[in-house]
Symmetry: C2
Subunit: 409 residues, 2 copies
Amino acid sequence: MALIVQKYGGTSVGSIEKIRAVAERVIRTAEQGNQMVVVLSAMAGQTDGLIRLAYGLTEDPDPRELDVLMSTGEQVSVALFAIAAKSMGRDARSLLGFQVGIHTDHLFGKARIHDIETGRIIRNLEQGRIVTVAGFQGINDHGDITTLGRGGSDTTAVALAAALTADVCEIYTDVDGVYTTDPHICPKARKMDSIAYDEMLEMASLGAKVLEIRSVEFAKKFDVPIHVRSTFTNERGTMVVAETKDMEKVAVSGVAYNKNEARVTIHKVPDRPGIASLIFDPVFRAGIVVDMIVQNTSQDGLTDLTFTVPKTDFYKTMKIVSDVAANIGAERVLGDEDIAKVSIIGVGMRTHAGVAKKMFETLAKENINIMMISTSEIKISCVIEEKYTELAVRVLHSAFGLDVDKGES
Amino acid sequence: MALIVQKYGGTSVGSIEKIRAVAERVIRTAEQGNQMVVVLSAMAGQTDGLIRLAYGLTEDPDPRELDVLMSTGEQVSVALFAIAAKSMGRDARSLLGFQVGIHTDHLFGKARIHDIETGRIIRNLEQGRIVTVAGFQGINDHGDITTLGRGGSDTTAVALAAALTADVCEIYTDVDGVYTTDPHICPKARKMDSIAYDEMLEMASLGAKVLEIRSVEFAKKFDVPIHVRSTFTNERGTMVVAETKDMEKVAVSGVAYNKNEARVTIHKVPDRPGIASLIFDPVFRAGIVVDMIVQNTSQDGLTDLTFTVPKTDFYKTMKIVSDVAANIGAERVLGDEDIAKVSIIGVGMRTHAGVAKKMFETLAKENINIMMISTSEIKISCVIEEKYTELAVRVLHSAFGLDVDKGES
């Protein structure tokens, strides 16, 4: 008998028919002798409807009350799931954040879980019940409802799995696992059997939307094995687990890309101490997240400074930086929205030499110019012209031996 | 400075525009120096939508989970209200049943309030906040969410007013008060300035839908003055209060009618001890609520037995009673759906003689035949042919001096 935490996302519970299908699936697994804890998101569309109501009242809704509002979405899902399961003859019980005792800090809208009480869940499991827990929500020590922010239901599921020392945390979604790259642009992308937490973190931060970053961080911290799989098939998906020796055998596990950044270059900046903070302080203060920063070697006391920001913050950044550039006597500011970041990821990089060289050569062979480079222990990212994104992903995927074997489907 | 509990129903908060209007109204009253506790129902339509989801899954949803589901409606309303009030610059805070501490018994779907904690509400009021409380919901001593059943938000408001010893409980609705009779069928109906709890209870049980019976019982028990008034005007409405000497000056305060009953007559029942329970036991066991029962004097050992039941239970009742009648050797069973009950109500009846006589004479003058009569201390009800309902209401309203004075509008 295993204790399994399952999490189903909004599209998986998007209608009463789908909720019924999820209940059937959960009951099947329960009847194989497993104890089941089921974390649910709000039904697809519900969250948007609630947000529209709140922002219909004001541009700046009170964060505490927004959480009271938003948490109703998951409450509806768990109630309907329990109704469905009970109508199929299986005892089930819904628990909300305050009923479980999912204690968080006070940051409404992006609360962090402090600790989780397990007593009520365990008592219900021991009575043979399926326990369904509202995702995304908790309670702070004032008794206020809090929500965990984007992807919060993943975090709820992983945190519950950690607190209950569950055997596995299964995250059900509308894709059937984690792929070596985006199958939409690379038909030879391969579903991975397993991926290391750190690799998954890099994939997620580069825009692969299978798992939210915080839930992976949580899983890594508490060593919770995550099984990412499809709601609509019974196929095995991808295990997200601690790094193993096996994983190091391949240099590169996946190829990721991100088209959501823009590049800003300040030409001929007088190169003196403190100049970087003069430039970046107003950018940071505006809440803009700067990703890559490259500063060239100084020539004649002048240097070029290039960095990337989210495309949504591009115009704001250009305005701020243009003002600063004028003040510090830089020559000019250039912006470029038509860029993409292509990355290769793999814990095997730690032990394999020549990975960067191979990446650069592969891109060069296709006449793809590299504008910026950044590296970490398990990742190399190159900024290229946006129009080459798909080509770059495909040739890298192939060059690092990730393509589906011939004969496989 | 007064402490005022206000309750707004589903149509009063049926859109974000209406919620904004309610917030403006509450803030105006607060700014006159009053402490405000605002109880809200679910937005009109929301509850039906939730019910459709649950009954789309099964004909018989689990009651505990149905309450988890239904309670989200009021949660949405209070969150949106607090968002609206705060966006207008007035501090406000929503509290759900579990956050206030509205403790109920375990009867999901029709829970009764045991007691209410007032600490958290009072602390928030003392900080100058408007407190908005989700109506209709409470929590039992297992920490399960419960709902109070139909009209539950009225009960929440009155119970809160009692617990907080509020100066008044204002119930906002889409009518502007309690009328002497239904203005739709009697244009001369008059809005009452005040009505006694007992009169209101009789009016409500006869189908006047302004206040739910349980909330009036609660108000009577704890002597909470209720002010029934319109969300859409600033006019004074109707006070529902303890009986005063003044109220006894008029014999009759209002005329009510009910078209939702049907009549069943069993002819020539052998009149022997225990016969009534033989007939009614199977009816009661089927969960059918019998209203009036009339048994004629026995002739030759045979009697006629007539009673009324809700129209929705008419066919079920006819089937049950026909079986019983055959068993006990009664002659035949007749049913009649085309009846109505017309009632006059007034605490003044206790002290005024001749009220019944005047009622019968008034109906006789219009050739309206009285089929059944039942009386209580403050009410006389007559069953008549349904087609005479409107006429009967108008002539009784006039005969007992309830018509609007000439010159009034």
